[in-house]
């Protein structure tokens, strides 16, 4: 990587779920949690703030959210203050901006906050907000939101490769099981057997309720700094070693085969290449399981298995602890819920905590060194990937 080495040196999340709290209250809450998790952090040393927020205009009727978040956190940024919007990948987008700012020398210490308040009194209004993510004047009038799009991905995957509902359920079961180890997950302490998952109602066939991540309120935050300051905060930094992003369409009609996520192949190749590693070197991956089928296609596009074999990969438990690599140990979007702006940041928090060995033993990956974080956004038309390495010299 060019520029200075940059690492995540701490992070925290709020409880994810249907929260009786406003957008600003969630930001205050994650500020308190971050202060506890990174006691060395001083407000006056934070020069920059990046806010990952997908749709505060729709869900909270609020724009100009970066200074609002700074005020909630008690920060007065004097280098860079900005909000990052990339729908479901807004959080990772904010981390990437902070990384670039620090690597270039523009910033020394940056806070990244990801936040979304999604549960409104009217679910139809909230669903309309989700529809804005598509090419609204063309995709919107049909009633397009995420579930029918990813349902078509699942339909084609089943048609082309024989993927089954049971294999979809295997992804959901795994991630819900991991969520049971995560008190901040929306579906903590809820059991979902494959049989139970297969009896849940259809939302957008062939996808059932348990195949879909939910509408979630929550916030997450991380601190990034340069190699010059890392040791002031932690002995187990998560170094940013690679990043990649690729986008080749937006309108639903341009989604191509649906089952071949070329954007993820390109973005992960870029990120892994910059880190100088292969996919087989990874110890854990936080993949964007907005739907069960997403995680299956992601196994394939990352090269963990061949095209069409993602369902079998799930069925055989190769993403479990003790498998090829651990996928979504914090519980994924399926188990934790998916507060759009917060998700990418919460995934980075998990990587930091896994490297620091401070997660519950039931999901601790043994001595992880390499981790990959992936977010897709919209109709899988943008793929964003970061690669992190634990500790060691800069």
């Amino acid at each position: 990587m060019s520029g200075r080495a940059v690492a995540i040196v701490g992070g925290a999340t709020t409880k994810f779920g249907v929260r009786p709290a406003t957008w600003s209250e969630l930001v205050q809450e994650v500020g308190v949690a971050l202060g506890r998790a990174v006691p060395e952090l001083r407000s006056e040393t934070v020069d920059s703030l990046f806010v990952g927020a997908a749709e505060p205009e729709r869900f909270a009727f609020q724009s100009h959210v970066a200074p609002l978040a700074a005020e909630q956190l008690g920060l007065k940024p004097h280098r860079i203050l900005q909000r990052n919007e990339l729908a479901c990948a807004s959080g990772q987008s904010a981390i990437r901006s902070a990384y670039a700012a620090i690597a270039s020398g523009l910033s020394e210490v940056a806070v990244v906050v990801g936040v979304e308040k999604m549960n409104l009194p009217s679910m139809a209004e909230a669903n309309s907000a989700m529809g804005c993510v598509m090419d609204r004047p063309w995709d919107g009038p049909a009633g397009a939101t995420a579930p029918p799009f990813f349902a078509m991905v699942a339909q084609r995957h089943m048609l082309e490769f024989g993927t089954t509902e049971e294999q979809l359920a295997a992804v959901s079961e795994k991630n819900h099981r991991f969520a049971n180890t995560n008190p901040n997950a929306q579906f903590h302490e809820k059991t979902f057997s494959r049989d139970k998952l297969l009896r849940l109602p259809l939302i957008a066939p062939p996808l059932r309720l348990g195949d879909c991540s939910s509408m979630t309120d929550g916030a997450a935050a991380v601190v990034l700094t340069s190699e010059e300051h890392v040791r002031e905060y932690t002995d187990t930094p998560a170094w940013v070693r690679g990043s990649g992003q690729y986008s080749d369409f937006h309108n639903l009609a341009h989604a191509g085969s649906l089952t071949e996520w070329n954007g993820l192949r390109r973005a992960s190749r870029e990120a892994l290449g910059r880190a100088g590693i292969e996919v087989g070197d990874l110890d854990l991956a936080e993949l964007h399981d907005c739907f069960t089928i997403s995680e299956i296609v992601e196994y394939e596009a990352l090269g963990l298995c061949r095209s069409g074999e993602g369902g079998k990969f799930a069925e055989d438990g190769r993403g479990n602890l003790g498998g090829d690599l651990v996928v979504n140990p914090r519980g994924g979007l399926l188990g934790c819920g998916h507060p759009l702006g917060a998700t990418g940041v919460a995934q980075a928090v998990e990587v930091f905590q896994q490297f620091a060995s401070i997660v519950p033993p039931a999901r601790q990956v043994p001595e992880p060194e390499w981790a990959l974080v992936h977010n897709l956004s919209g109709s899988a038309n943008v793929h964003s990937v970061m690669v992190y390495q634990r500790g060691g010299a800069a």
């Binding site: 209004e125 669903n127 609204r136 029918p148 349902a151 078509m152 339909q155 066939p205 996808l207 009609a253």
Partner: protein, 182 residues
């Protein structure tokens, strides 16, 4: 509007897309002298999934005018010949603004489909369940996304034939959808 009788024969008559005025003239850009009566949207625009279709809001208003004539159309670049979807005001491959309107072939086949059984956006809750899908338009490289009417989602299949259809959404505005033909 959904019947065959409402559909005009698809001719070759092409109309050049209203080109953007040169930069020095843009300040003088004004709606046409005799605009069609403005449809009144049923709900505030920011809660409405249907677009604003009139010449004072979009340079692509002819797309909606042509729907009113039963024609589902799109733009084709006069310079490099590329066919667009959705319609454009500038060609994405050569950046030309000299485009023409062309009717799309009426028939197509379902590439993929699903149905919205829950989680419909505001204003569409009463339409649940409804089917949506990606349709390959015969004789073109185009794939369109839209509603599929004619049969319940449980009776649809990948590869089934459909045709395009223009319809009045109920407040004077127009949109397109698909209807099964088997």
């Amino acid at each position: 509007m959904s019947g065959d009788s409402a559909r005009r024969r698809r001719g070759a008559a092409s109309v050049v897309v209203a080109p953007a005025p040169p930069p020095e003239a843009r300040a003088a850009e004004a709606p046409p002298a005799n605009p069609a009566p403005k449809p009144v949207p049923r709900r505030p625009f920011l809660l409405d999934f249907f677009p604003l279709e009139t010449p004072d809001q979009t340079r692509l208003h002819r797309f909606y005018d042509r729907l009113r004539e039963g024609r589902v159309s799109t733009t084709r670049c006069l310079r490099d010949g590329s066919l667009h979807w959705p319609p454009r005001t500038a060609c994405p491959s050569c950046r030309s603004e000299e485009l023409e309107w062309v009717d799309l072939p009426e028939h197509g086949h379902i590439y993929a489909f699903s149905a919205v059984l829950a989680g419909a956006p505001l204003g569409m809750e009463t339409e649940v369940p409804f089917a949506v899908g990606l349709v390959d338009i015969d004789g073109t490289p185009l794939r369109l996304f839209g509603r599929i009417e004619g049969r319940p989602w449980t009776e649809l299949r990948v590869g089934a034939p459909v045709r395009t259809e223009a319809y009045d959404i109920g407040d004077g505005r127009m949109f397109y959808r698909f209807r099964t033909t088997e």
